[in-house]
Symmetry: D2
Subunit: 349 residues, 4 copies
Amino acid sequence: MYFASDNAGPVHPKILQALVDANDGYAMPYGDDDLMTRVRDQIRETFEAPEAVVYLVATGTAANVLSLATLTQPWQTVFCTPQAHINEDECNGPEFYMGGAKLTLVEAPDAKMTPDALCARIEGEETRGVHGPQRGPVSITNVTERGTVYSISEIKALSDIAKIFDLPVHLDGARFANALAAANASPAEMTWKAGVDVLSFGGTKNGCMGVEAVVLFDPKHAWEFELRRKRGAHLFSKHRFLSAQMAAYLEGGLWLDLASRANAANARLCDGLRGTGGARFLHAPEANMSFAGWTRAGHQRLHDAGAKYHIWDGQLEGDNPQEELTARMVCDWSATNENIDRFVELVHG
Amino acid sequence: MYFASDNAGPVHPKILQALVDANDGYAMPYGDDDLMTRVRDQIRETFEAPEAVVYLVATGTAANVLSLATLTQPWQTVFCTPQAHINEDECNGPEFYMGGAKLTLVEAPDAKMTPDALCARIEGEETRGVHGPQRGPVSITNVTERGTVYSISEIKALSDIAKIFDLPVHLDGARFANALAAANASPAEMTWKAGVDVLSFGGTKNGCMGVEAVVLFDPKHAWEFELRRKRGAHLFSKHRFLSAQMAAYLEGGLWLDLASRANAANARLCDGLRGTGGARFLHAPEANMSFAGWTRAGHQRLHDAGAKYHIWDGQLEGDNPQEELTARMVCDWSATNENIDRFVELVHG
Amino acid sequence: MYFASDNAGPVHPKILQALVDANDGYAMPYGDDDLMTRVRDQIRETFEAPEAVVYLVATGTAANVLSLATLTQPWQTVFCTPQAHINEDECNGPEFYMGGAKLTLVEAPDAKMTPDALCARIEGEETRGVHGPQRGPVSITNVTERGTVYSISEIKALSDIAKIFDLPVHLDGARFANALAAANASPAEMTWKAGVDVLSFGGTKNGCMGVEAVVLFDPKHAWEFELRRKRGAHLFSKHRFLSAQMAAYLEGGLWLDLASRANAANARLCDGLRGTGGARFLHAPEANMSFAGWTRAGHQRLHDAGAKYHIWDGQLEGDNPQEELTARMVCDWSATNENIDRFVELVHG
Amino acid sequence: MYFASDNAGPVHPKILQALVDANDGYAMPYGDDDLMTRVRDQIRETFEAPEAVVYLVATGTAANVLSLATLTQPWQTVFCTPQAHINEDECNGPEFYMGGAKLTLVEAPDAKMTPDALCARIEGEETRGVHGPQRGPVSITNVTERGTVYSISEIKALSDIAKIFDLPVHLDGARFANALAAANASPAEMTWKAGVDVLSFGGTKNGCMGVEAVVLFDPKHAWEFELRRKRGAHLFSKHRFLSAQMAAYLEGGLWLDLASRANAANARLCDGLRGTGGARFLHAPEANMSFAGWTRAGHQRLHDAGAKYHIWDGQLEGDNPQEELTARMVCDWSATNENIDRFVELVHG
């Protein structure tokens, strides 16, 4: 019963097999491997973007910080939500890679920016000439850090605002596959057709070992990105083992299958929690992550049974067994119905 | 009728004379001039801080960014108000000098942090181990950017919170003299006795040509500060001309006289504006800066008479002469009663 | 016949198997996996350093830049050879991670610093107070970038110089196993017993997929290192797959077996090249890398047969078939006698 | 008898008077003062460069680091001499402002790069794709740090090399006036006509209090420069006092008069030293700085008489009164014949 995160689950057997298969003698290092050619083709086809350039790195934070650094001047500010991974969970990595640029936080109920709030924040910058930070890119996260999902039209509404001010748009898609599965849209529709310029395309949380693609829909910053990746120490010598993961991940739509599985697992979990005696939800659970509250007694039962997940707003230890504590739960592709149902049962007591 | 800022007024004659006097043959460069020895003594005495180390730079932003860089690790975050100069008016200079550290904004009605809000923000960081930014210094601005003034006990309450978390405290005192004059306290009381570790001590806005002192009450970072100043290109070769300004500024309490004069000018201005048909104030005008609203017609009269100040929330041009627009006004030491009274008259029409 | 680099060869089957074995359900992310506990124990035992702290990253450049950033202040300079990877092959990554510190190049015949040259360079810095860069760590590479190896006493002689000036010592051990196999010494003897403070301990070039350990013999910078790793985007969520590689690499001395194999392969290659009609060596080939010159005609034969290696000082294309061109050849653990002998035969023609 | 540096002498009376004159009521801050308009016109006329943009800062290091940061990407390397101020005397300021770019040192007898050495160094970079630093600007210093002067044709020869590789050229002209006076050329001839893109144009060492102009002959980076200056904390609020210095400095050719005076003083000094029993010169003294050697006894006599200059290669204290020690001497505009002759007399004994 492991629902703590999708970053700690197993690698899908097909992806593991791809690593084994790739271990065949020598291969050109640093991204010049044949598998990378295949990955490039797969991504261009998947995204209907024949001009896009594609680079692989091993962590989601690397994908984000290198993307943002490529889009941002050090005297600019990035518009994002307070809950964004780039704000809360990257230990100032974006600021480091951007050479001291900053983040301007846009209020975001359920971790989703509204076009009005975004517009107001953008208008609030560049009001004092050389003195204040200059406007930089808009960074959107989908699936959000609260498990909600932007629809295609919501992304488009935000990027339309960005375009008014001639600002580029970055999409943090650490859970892009889950968002896509939830939004029932095509990869192109959620990205360049909706105004996204650069995508952090996650693999690690969805069945890979450690690989993320950065997709630059406009190739003009390609060489700069390569230099930034190298300088950031993120260029792999035995790069074929990144390529092999990504190739297997994309092959035959495995990435969407796995995301759909994770989303379905989360839906089953939430349905169960909503049942008799059930849980209160903090946000609409639209993909593979949910925030729900129930009694401390329920948490205690789960804890005793070895279930893993985060208590979001309190401590297991406490006097009042009826007090409600919120859990954050994430399902990955490997969550089983058996574990989900047992988890739900324990909540209900 | 110049009330646009205290950064554009004349240098006080005594300070100008000090520059002329200092121009006597050769002097050791880079801060080894005899006048700097005098400044060091003056500041230690003024602040009752015999161990303090003192450095001079030419701009307030330099004083702030070097102070913060010395107190902050790149993976930390500085707690300050949204209105702080370091957030709004230094074009990411703090982030640049701190190597990518960030600012966490603490809600601040009238540009003053409350201890509760500060505490909540500090508690909100370092909740996710290595992933989030680590807690860094608290930076307080006095006089605030909205013309309000922290009392000694208010500063102490904030630094008490900082000390609970073992965080250093920086005071941005670009208008320190004005704050002190308003708070009716001693320099020591508003700084180290109230828990302040490092002070940006302004001279430029209060009758100097361009000089600010950084006072490190704990000398342990002295050498690091010197290296940071040099590396930031802020070490003057003909340093005696910084020293000369600061020495004259401190001599005989000139700095407090000038600040008192500026505060009194602002009080006269505000009293006038409060009169019949008068103005609405956005914040309590406690030092030498005020924010007051009156009709567009009043603004037009001032504009036609050549008065200089900032309209804070709108445009002079507009259809409705009765619409209220807020002005930001700043008095420096050289403001005359004649100009103030004429300004007030024009507002009232 | 692949002798272009040891960064492009296959992963050893035991290490690949370890990845497969590690893929068993869930594991704590971000270095809290059980395998990492084992790695920590293995390294402490291997290095006879029970206090050492150990961190894993995926690239050699990451190991170097994070190590140096932890040891260096931005106003300091690192002493290294012109040929060092940190100078020539990391695209300013060290300068980026160190916040703008610089490298002072120490003359190094055969890519090995002499104590005298190092001492002279250290003495040459800090001669102008605050104006010049301050002295920072000494960074030694073993195996060097020219295939030569520092003996234990040579490392000690350099670190003795460093200690005179109270400077820390970093060892870039991307090929540490090969150096150790060549020097016939214990891990402790080549590191902390010889004055090394921080080690970049390579795995990738010697049979791993992508893993390097950073070993801090003094634990005082441990937490800072963790923050720097995270901020640099080098902290893996599915960290167990780094741990698994390193655990298998260390298990039963596999790492030294593989390095010995690579060194022996190189020795066989060099012996062959030295034979009748043979090659001229640029540097003494002491580990698994060699630089030797022979005729263009010989290079052409190798090229036609599909052999891969770098021509170091010229172009294959040219008029004079008797002109000598130097080759850089690197053997990894998987080099076969058959390929080596065939390569040699083709050189001799 | 002060020959230690031209950075410690007095401000010329006309420049001091200009500061007094500028202190007339209010002036627009941050470079919008009327005097700056005049400075801009003066520089464009002086340099025959109507499109050039001009910015003022207070230190020579600020002029250099901001210029270089504007011309250099963080993954590039700047070509300069080992003796360059940017390498030896700015405490890693260039690396800080350039975001971690590095310097590649070009061998330079008498502190002057030769075209061949420059070309070889440029060719030596960018030989390893994404792995090594990329080629960045060439930075030339005139007057050099050893008192030698590049002729117009020598500067042109270097910038011709730079242009072959499409690299921009920066000229560190902390002593530009002295170089021009020595080379007997026009400002345009020594800068844009000779291929210089950005000039650090010094005032401080030549009779100003603290002002340097940055001249960008191509205006395309103007706004970026302004943001970098602000972010670096080098934008003055009371900017008119920078403008006033520079305007007076340029007015009626004062800057060239002062430089000629300093150069003539140095020539007199060197002629005197060359006399009977005289001194050995390390470099040809072509402007206002000289390096000459004489006996310790001579140094002792100077020391006893209170003369100030740097002993370059040894210590005054020593057993052998006949041992030769080299002095570095710099004349500024205010050096008197009387002091020079007395200095020479004391050397000769």
